[in-house]
């Protein structure tokens, strides 16, 4: 049953610092990518979300209030993807639409946490005070409404996509697994129609704390992901919502939909990240994909964190010795690193490049990124290397 059916991308919903929708993220709009905010969380830089009128996708204000910003971002992007694929208000299709969502932790109430910390009420000597503070200060619905699976829950409630619902977790891995899972379920004939993606709100201090505990953030003025190694590396988080409608070719054709691109295959693994191990793992995964030799466009998910970024670059540049001429781009340098949403975002951008026939322009100061000189782009390799763990590759093709 394996890989017998083609998997098409028939809908894209994306919003980021570059704006919202497919036009804002197409190669023709590249000059407007890479918006940064360097002051709000200084010394950290973030890629802030564009201005969004959430009411366009989440009509009820009461619904909006029940969601944190990451959920609103994801629900909005999901709505864009469903609309783009012609699924909005199509109950017969929506009830067969399977959700596969990549999600992280919900958002905390940072001002409440700060108040508790500042009042000294969390000391071990004063347990009753902490209990009292939590009982009176935590908003009852806030955190449970922020559970990882509630992004998917909210998508079901707002957009009525209810076929099935699975939420994957685990930082970048979750986004890679989400695309892989949907691809396998379509290609094996298990199901026809999927809404896959994730969302990140980068503009919050509790998120910065989580990643800075492992010292994985870039705490300097903006540089492209390939130029951060000398200062120890690190990622710049970006607020992104990225969703795709993946569909069996036959199913898409029967309802008259045109694809952006085809997802040929997804290959994933994990290694323990001993020196050189990530490079070798990526080489092995690449061999499974059967990528045609010649000019190869690469949409890299490199985060800028080290040593993962250097190991990935070694793998990519090593392809030059194997009859590939690689044109590497790193979308983390444009939209920021969006962790769970990062791999889906890379797939969105790769699909837009394939649909337009044009690849994105080089944009780094170290000249890692060579121009793509082979005319129309036939394939894009999308990479997803976790800043800590997990390796994945997807090959997309022009239809």
């Amino acid at each position: 049953m394996k890989n017998s059916r083609e998997v098409w991308i028939t809908g894209i919903g994306i919003l980021s610092c570059a704006g919202e929708g497919i036009v804002a993220h197409a190669p023709s709009n590249q000059k407007n990518f890479t918006q940064t905010d360097t002051t709000r969380f200084s010394p950290y830089c973030v890629h802030p979300l564009c201005t969004v009128d959430f009411a366009k996708q989440i009509v009820k204000t009461s619904e909006q209030k029940q969601m944190g910003l990451w959920q609103r971002t994801g629900v909005y992007a999901a709505g864009l993807a469903l609309a783009d694929a012609g699924l909005t208000d199509q109950p017969a299709l929506l009830e067969r639409t399977n959700l596969v969502v990549a999600a992280g932790n919900g958002e905390r109430d940072c001002s409440f946490d700060s108040k508790v910390l500042g009042a000294g009420t969390c000391g071990a000597a004063a347990p009753a005070q902490l209990n009292e503070a939590l009982l009176t200060g935590l908003r009852p619905t806030l955190y449970l409404g922020e559970l990882s699976n509630l992004l998917a829950g909210n998508i079901s409630i707002v957009h009525h996509a209810t076929g099935s619902s699975r939420t994957f977790k685990g930082e970048e891995i979750s986004g890679v697994s989400a695309i892989e899972n949907a691809h396998r379920r379509i290609s094996s004939g298990q199901s026809d129609l999927f809404l896959v993606g994730g969302a990140l709100n980068a503009e919050r201090e509790d998120l910065l704390l989580g990643y800075e505990l492992g010292r994985t953030l870039w705490a300097h003025p903006y540089k492209s992901v390939w130029s951060r190694k000398a200062d120890g590396g690190g990622f710049i988080p970006g607020s992104v919502g990225a969703f795709l409608v993946l569909e069996a070719r036959e199913h898409a054709q029967a309802r008259g939909r045109k694809p952006y691109a085809r997802v040929c295959d997804v290959a994933t693994d994990r290694c323990r990240r001993q020196p050189g191990e990530a490079t070798r793992t990526l080489q092995n995964l690449f061999d499974k994909l059967g990528v045609p030799e010649g000019a190869l466009a690469v949409m890299s998910g490199a985060s800028g964190a080290e040593p993962a970024t250097s190991e990935e670059l070694e793998f990519l540049q090593g392809l030059e010795d194997r009859n590939y001429r690689v044109a590497i781009r790193a979308h983390g340098a444009w939209l920021g690193h969006s962790v769970e949403a990062h791999f889906p975002a890379g797939v969105c951008l790769a699909a837009l490049a394939l649909a337009s026939g044009q690849f994105f322009e080089p944009s780094d100061e170290k000249s890692v990124e060579a121009p793509f000189e082979a005319g129309e782009v036939p394939h894009v390799l999308v990479t997803g290397v976790g800043h800590w763990r997990g390796e994945g590759l997807a090959l997309l093709a022009r239809v």
């Binding site: 394996k2 940072c110 001002s111 955190y143 099935s164 697994s177 492992g214």
Partner: protein
């Protein structure tokens, strides 16, 4: 001619070849089964942290796991490890070279208050306040231990390394349906022919202060603090909420043909999985039960059997007023008159609600029910809810020949997953 290793739709059958479990009742299948069939409760007062002023002060804590650092994250990982090691031992597989992927149901990975305070106080003398100070302290200090535990991938990576599972481990959350979803992912991978084995684990150790307060503020928890063992009362008139609990369940699933080929013990077959998402409300299911009904119906259809073939239901049965009523209504809708002849019990009456782990733990108990021919009771149902006229096997375990179990899991956020687990009759 049909293959004995495939189901009626020609898909490879997923056999259960190993089980492991940890709950508040104890460590391992033997202790758990003995206590479960004796009607013992694992619910007790919380001693792990001070409960001054809290409305609920009881839980099904797992206190039999020794750890140098007691956080939800470390307990979550260790319990899963204990359960998985037991399951691999039963399956006769090596402990560090599992021949397939890991599917793991886990709770949120969070920084808890003692850790947050530790980071805050590391910047003693800082003029900064709040998160600014926390983030600066994180950059200046060494908190790798907290970082390693608070990534969502932490538990899966730890288990993948320890047991040598293959490929990218998958961590899944469908809230209280997560454990069942992890098993479903394993069954599907085997059916698609991607692997001949999958390690499916559900683990949850959420009994920490803030999580308890959150559920408490939603009025979801029982407040029968004076009689902990009688607090979880599924299907009874006086039920007043669920009891938070901890635990882990692990199942080794294998392609039946491969399992028979290597002489593995075949404990049961996971015959069907069904799911359906609700679009009604974040905490409540649709008043007409359609999403729950849909999940149950799909599981039975997926198992290629009829509703009348179900001869025992391992219920979600949380002991909240709403769940138990909705579950009864949904079961009636699918099973019809057959429900009156079908025992329906809730393991949660004894072990509490193990949240992300519940679907996996209850699947383990469902297999044990088939193996032993004994249905564990629903305890604390001496005053049954007259609106839920079901045979809940009250108080005392019952001998019964069980061929097909329906195991229900309904998640907060509207994600429902049901499994049909069947007996194995050998190769015909």
């Amino acid at each position: 001619m049909s293959s004995p290793f495939k189901d009626a739709r020609g898909r490879p059958l997923a056999a259960v070849t190993g089980l492991g479990v940890v709950t508040s009742l104890g460590r391992g299948k033997d202790e758990n089964w003995r206590k479960l069939t004796s009607g013992c409760s694992g619910i007790r007062p919380i001693t792990r942290f001070p409960t001054d002023g809290l409305r609920t002060t009881i839980a099904g804590t797992v206190d039999c796991i020794e750890l140098s650092v007691q956080t939800s994250a470390t307990r979550t990982m260790e319990m899963a490890g204990v359960a998985a090691a037991e399951a691999l031992d039963e399956a006769g597989l090596p402990e560090a070279d599992f021949p397939g992927p890991l599917f793991l149901a886990t709770p949120p990975a969070e920084i808890e208050w003692p850790q947050r305070r530790r980071i805050y106080e590391a910047a003693l003398g800082s003029a900064d306040k709040g998160y600014r100070r926390l983030v600066a302290a994180a950059r200046a200090g060494d908190f790798q231990d907290i970082a390693d535990e608070s990534q969502f991938a932490s538990a899966a990576i730890y288990l993948a390394n320890r047991f040598g599972t293959k490929g990218l481990p998958v961590s899944v959350s469908t809230a209280c349906a997560s454990g069942a979803t992890a098993i479903q992912l394993g069954v599907e991978a085997i059916r698609r022919g991607e692997t001949t084995a999958a390690l499916c684990i559900g683990t949850d150790s959420s009994v920490q202060l803030e999580a308890l307060v959150r559920f408490s503020l939603l009025s979801a928890l029982s407040t029968r603090n004076d009689a902990p063992q009688a607090a979880s009362r599924p299907f009874s008139r006086g039920r007043d909420g669920f009891v938070m609990a901890e635990g882990a369940g692990a199942l080794v699933l294998e392609d039946l043909e491969a399992a028979v080929g290597r002489g593995a013990p075949i404990l049961a077959i996971v015959r069907g999985c069904g799911e359906m998402a609700d679009d009604y409300h974040r905490t409540r299911s649709k008043p007409d039960g359609s999403a729950i009904i849909g999940a149950i119906r799909r599981a039975i259809e997926d198992a290629c059997i009829a509703p009348d073939d179900i001869d025992y239901v391992n219920a979600h049965g949380t002991s909240t007023p709403e769940n138990d009523k909705m579950e009864y209504l949904s079961l009636s809708a699918v099973l019809g008159d057959h429900l009156q002849k079908t025992p329906v019990t809730s393991n949660k009456s004894m072990i509490g609600h193990t949240l992300s782990a519940a679907g996996a733990i209850e699947a383990v108990f469902s297999v044990l029910t088939i193996q032993h021919g004994v249905i564990p009771p629903t305890i604390n149902c001496d005053d049954p809810d007259p609106e839920i006229p079901m045979d809940v096997v009250p108080g005392t375990a019952r001998a019964a020949r069980v061929r097909n179990v329906l195991s229900n899991s309904f998640g907060f956020g509207g994600q429902n997953a049901c499994l049909v687990i069947g007996a194995y009759d050998g190769v015909k």
